[in-house]
């Protein structure tokens, strides 16, 4: 991270124009331009075309222009004067003297001087403008890229780190950090560059807590000497007795992002003797605002997630109520009808008929009981109360318990293949048996009465797998994941009338998840569905 900062600083330094460098070596510039003029003179002397003074002037002008672009204004003027002198001495009659015979020659020389000086100045200004333009261009690119980065990068931390690096590249900063105010009004370090989280913590939240608090409450920056901000408040004005805030070794910039309230602070520590010009301050402010935007977006995302969770819980409740109301009414209605029938016509009916009516009631009661069980399971699922009671259980026992939950007729259709015969697994037997029971029950229900359902147990080094296969209608492609959601009912109409269908698989999914396993469904070659429960062991 640090090397990146240094690389950025080096990059910036390369943009310092060579003119500045040369200015530092001023004597060299003058010597060079003298040499240039001399060289040009010799060139002109050897070239016969120098008879025409206008040629001479043009070529000397060239030297002036070069001197202007390379060495700046002062040297350009010097070069101009030098050119005039040389022109006078070497090319204006009488030759090799500084006297000028003709008045028109004087005029020509003066004009030349004027032109040379002006050209020099213009060239210099052009150079400065070009430099400013390229600087401006760089800044715009920075801002544009930052905006794009903030907009496109979903990971706030990454986007934040990007912005901070940009800031440090722009303003020669060695350390940056963002301090945010948490929901419960506590300070928290959100991101750092150039210093560790722990250091930022001890510096800003422990040592300089008051300074941060000041910036937050007054929305004014506190600036250290190298980095002076507009509107920066010196310690004296803000705090009557806060001599501790004088000579602050760093700067704190308020970040506004919620309706004018300052909820974050940007901490900057610059390298020694860095001066931030106005333009850079503006860019800095713009970037700080990006930081604010990021923080705001982060907040919104969190609120949205919470709202979503509440919405889902609400939807669940509604669906549950609808289901209860619908699925309970039918059996209750038929029970009531049957009982009333028996009460009113009971004695007149044959014993056989009475008995069969009562059998119906008995079945309906069982049905209601199953639904109550399912609902209880589902609500416990939603409350996250499925903590498995892990025990080492032989797999054969799991299978045995599962099969025991089906009557003889159903059992005749279940074909078992236990490839993990001798082994035990650490799991909650009751819960896993329920998963298998639900899956097999579905398989039996939705496949032809003469078809078989396969139950296989396979063990690998890391997993225990149960596979349930049937020859039913299979799954609707694309819904392999949907079916495990609560209240999902199959597309086919016949399924939606079967009570409890919407919950069984959801319960399986929840129980398997509580065991940190996974459950998958897919279609089977030749028709039907395959359900796979994988548990870590």
């Amino acid at each position: 991270m640090f090397s990146k900062l240094q690389a950025n600083i080096a990059l910036k330094n390369r943009f310092i124009d060579r003119g500045d460098q040369a200015r530092r070596f001023a004597p060299l510039a003058y010597i060079l331009s003298f040499a240039g003029v001399g060289a040009m003179t010799m060139l002109l002397k050897s070239w016969k075309a120098s008879a025409s003074l206008s040629n001479v002037d043009m070529l000397y002008l060239l030297v002036v222009i070069i001197a202007a672009t390379q060495f700046g204004r002062a040297v350009a003027i010097f070069t101009s004067l030098l050119c005039v002198l040389f022109a006078n001495y070497f090319f204006v009659p009488p030759l090799y003297t500084l006297t000028v015979a003709d008045v028109s020659e004087w005029v020509a020389l003066c004009v030349f001087l004027f032109v040379a000086i002006v050209t020099g100045q213009l060239t210099e200004r052009l150079r400065v403008q070009a430099q400013a333009a390229s600087q401006h261009d760089r800044e715009m690119t920075t801002l544009a890229e930052t905006s794009w980065e903030v907009a496109s990068e979903l990971d706030s931390k990454r986007a934040m780190s990007y912005i901070l690096r940009r800031i440090s590249a722009l303003v020669n900063v060695t350390e940056i950090a963002v301090v945010v105010v948490d929901g419960d009004n506590s300070l928290q370090i959100f991101a750092t560059e150039g210093l560790s989280l722990e250091d930022a913590q001890s510096l800003l939240i422990e040592k300089w807590r008051d300074a941060v608090g000041f910036v937050l409450s007054k929305a004014l920056p506190l600036g250290s000497k190298p980095l002076q901000f507009p509107n920066a408040v010196s310690a004296h004005e803000a705090y009557k007795d806060a001599s501790s805030y004088e000579n602050l070794p760093f700067s704190l910039v308020p970040i506004v992002y919620t309706e004018g309230n300052v909820s974050a602070v940007l901490y900057l520590k610059t390298a020694e003797s860095t001066v931030v010009n106005r333009r850079e301050q503006q860019i800095l402010t713009a970037l700080a605002n990006h930081v604010g935007l990021l923080l705001q977006r982060e907040q919104s995302l969190r609120a949205e997630a919470k709202a979503q969770a509440v919405l889902e819980a609400d939807q669940m409740k509604t669906a549950l109520l609808a289901m209860v109301s619908h699925d309970f009414r039918s059996p209750l209605t038929s029970i009531k009808a049957t009982i009333q029938t028996l009460k009113s016509t009971g004695e007149a009916l044959a014993l056989e008929e009475q008995k069969s009516l009562l059998d119906d009631v008995d079945l309906e009661v069982d049905r209601i009981n199953r639904m109550v069980t399912n609902i209880l399971d589902l609500s416990r699922l939603e409350a996250g109360a499925w903590r498995p009671k892990l025990e080492s259980v032989p797999i054969s026992e799991i299978i045995g318990m599962t099969l025991a939950g089906f009557d003889a007729r159903a059992n005749a259709r279940i074909i078992v293949q236990n490839d993990a015969r001798q082994d035990s697994a650490l799991l909650d037997s009751v819960q896993i048996v329920q998963v298998l029971h639900n899956l097999i029950e579905n398989a039996l229900k939705y496949s032809p009465a003469d078809s078989d359902v396969n139950l296989r147990a396979i063990e690998t080094d890391s997993h225990l797998e149960f596979v349930i296969e049937d020859r039913g209608k299979g799954l609707v492609t694309g819904e392999e994941l949907q079916i495990f959601k609560p209240f999902y009912r199959g597309r086919s109409l016949s399924e939606s009338n079967v009570p409890g269908v919407g919950i069984g698989l959801a319960i399986c999914s929840g129980l398997v998840a509580a065991h940190r396993g996974k459950i998958e469904a897919e279609n089977r070659d030749g028709g039907g569905a395959i359900f796979r429960v994988t548990l870590p062991v």
């Binding site: 008995d362 009661v365 009981n369 069980t373 209880l376 009671k389 025990e391 080492s392 259980v393 032989p394 054969s396 026992e397 299978i399 045995g400 318990m401 099969l403 025991a404 059992n411 078992v416 236990n418 035990s424 037997s429 009751v430 048996v433």
Partner: protein, 231 residues
């Protein structure tokens, strides 16, 4: 036999009374724990059916108190998913349990099972046991399936013997472990499970679908010799 029913719900009391009297039992009804204790002391029932979830003095307390002086078997009524309750009751001295809603056939079968056991306790010397293809000769420690001898390890045999002396009754993990291995092994459920699995492999025609050794999830095992059909 004389049956005492302790349940706070009138419908259950009524239904049980009608059913049990129809099956030629003498029935006493109590609507609370206190009443139940009084009636038990007064009438010395042969069997007690006790609801665990009652207001006032709860089922466990009743069970505990009954066990201080009463030897008759107790069947507790409980709801699904409250295995801890059932285990607690069984440890406090109950003999079996029924999960509400229960079928009457199941009730009768369990009543028979627990009653048989208490009657048999007086005759300790049962020389053998037979059920369908399974035959155990206690005198010679021989186990056979359809006449063919089955070789069991000593612990497997002890397990089978204990279960066969308590047919159709639920036996908790703790009870099985304490009896066969000793009280200090009462929590070693895994060992028990492994032995049960091995036993099943040896004496069950289809170990995957055991006929005799039934699992009572989270509670223990039951050696079943009859299936309770619906009434």
């Amino acid at each position: 036999m004389k049956v005492l029913v302790i349940d706070d719900e009138p419908q259950i009391r009524r239904a049980l009374r009608v059913f049990l009297e129809h099956n030629e039992h003498q029935v006493f009804l109590a609507s609370s724990g206190e009443e139940g204790l009084d009636l038990a002391a007064l009438n010395s029932p042969d069997l007690v059916i006790l609801d665990l979830a009652m207001p006032g003095i709860d089922g466990y307390e009743v069970c505990k108190q009954l066990r201080t002086w009463m030897k008759a078997p107790i069947i507790v009524l409980s709801v699904r998913d409250r295995e801890e309750d059932k285990i607690k009751a069984l440890d406090l001295g109950a003999d079996d349990y029924l999960t509400k809603p229960f079928g009457m056939g199941e009730l009768l079968a369990r009543m028979r099972a627990v009653h048989r056991r208490s009657a048999a306790e007086d005759e300790q010397d049962q020389s053998d046991f037979t059920c369908d293809e399974l035959h155990i000769d206690f005198a010679h420690r021989l186990v056979s399936l359809d006449g063919k001898e089955v070789h069991l390890t000593p612990k497997e045999y002890d397990l089978l013997r204990y279960m066969s002396m308590n047919v159709n009754r639920v036996l908790t993990h703790r009870q099985l472990l304490s009896k066969v291995w000793g009280p200090e092994y009462a929590d070693d459920t895994h060992t028990l499970r492994v032995h049960i699995a091995n036993l099943r492999n040896k004496i069950e025609i289809n170990p995957e679908r055991p006929k005799f050794v039934q699992t009572e999830p989270r509670i223990g095992y039951r050696f079943k010799t009859e299936s309770w059909a619906s009434v």
